[in-house]
């Protein structure tokens, strides 16, 4: 473990953690740790990219404030959506396995399905400010 990394996810108040910090996250096999490389905004939520390439959604990181920072479907531009669709098709055609959890294909596909659902499954719920 990186001895200079600050341990977060145990009650830290600074969010998100900085690059190089050790983060703790929930996985199918219990809690795991990794070194944060960067934080990327996905189509709905933020993904934490670890130095070893694993991609962890923000809401699985210990210490993540609730509710986490999420984008609305309206915030996504056509260019961004098309770029995400292009990457997904390319990864699928390249034979990557989306069931390989914590890898970018799983992360991108999960977000794309969530985004698509939110984009088209619009209920009658409107902002109180809406005319």
């Amino acid at each position: 473990m990186n001895s200079t990394a600050k341990q977060v996810g145990t009650g830290a108040t600074i969010w998100p953690p900085e690059e190089g910090e050790t983060i703790t996250f929930k996985s199918d096999s219990g809690l795991k740790v990794g070194i944060l490389k960067e934080v990327k905004c996905g189509l709905v939520w933020r993904d934490f990219i670890l130095e070893d390439g694993r991609v962890i959604p923000e809401h699985r990181i210990l210490g993540c404030p609730e509710p986490p920072v999420w984008r609305t479907a309206d915030e996504i531009s056509q260019d961004e959506r098309e770029a995400a669709e292009g990457r997904l098709v390319m990864m699928a055609e390249a034979g990557l396995d989306p069931r390989d959890r914590e890898q970018s294909f799983w992360a991108e596909l999960n977000q794309y399905l969530a985004y698509t659902y939110l984009r088209f499954n619009r209920t009658e719920h409107k902002s109180p400010d809406a005319a």
Partner: protein
């Protein structure tokens, strides 16, 4: 964050949780892709019934549907190839 924004985020979180789209489990992708496809098809149907719809929106919805179908097909093929002993893959 205003109380409205907060409750809106909670509503979205709940909606996605109920649809099983927050942390998709290992074998649920085919089912979740199908669910997303159904939502897109529903929207496309609505748009086709409207006379005032902007062509661009129809195209965008149709493109998303195409992407989901492509993902569904590719992943199904991969799944069959990775389970040669699975009787379903021999259909």
């Amino acid at each position: 964050m205003s109380p409205y924004e907060e409750s809106e985020k909670e509503r979205v979180w709940k909606m996605l949780s109920e649809a099983g789209l927050i942390d998709i489990t290992l074998d649920d992708f085919p089912e979740r892709i199908k669910a997303a496809k159904n939502v897109v098809i529903g929207r496309l149907r609505e748009l086709l019934e409207l006379t005032t719809t902007i062509q661009e929106e129809r195209q965008s919805v149709a493109y998303s549907l195409g992407t989901l179908k492509k993902l569904e097909t590719t992943l199904q093929v991969d799944s069959c190839q990775s389970n040669p002993g699975d009787p379903q893959s021999e259909k």
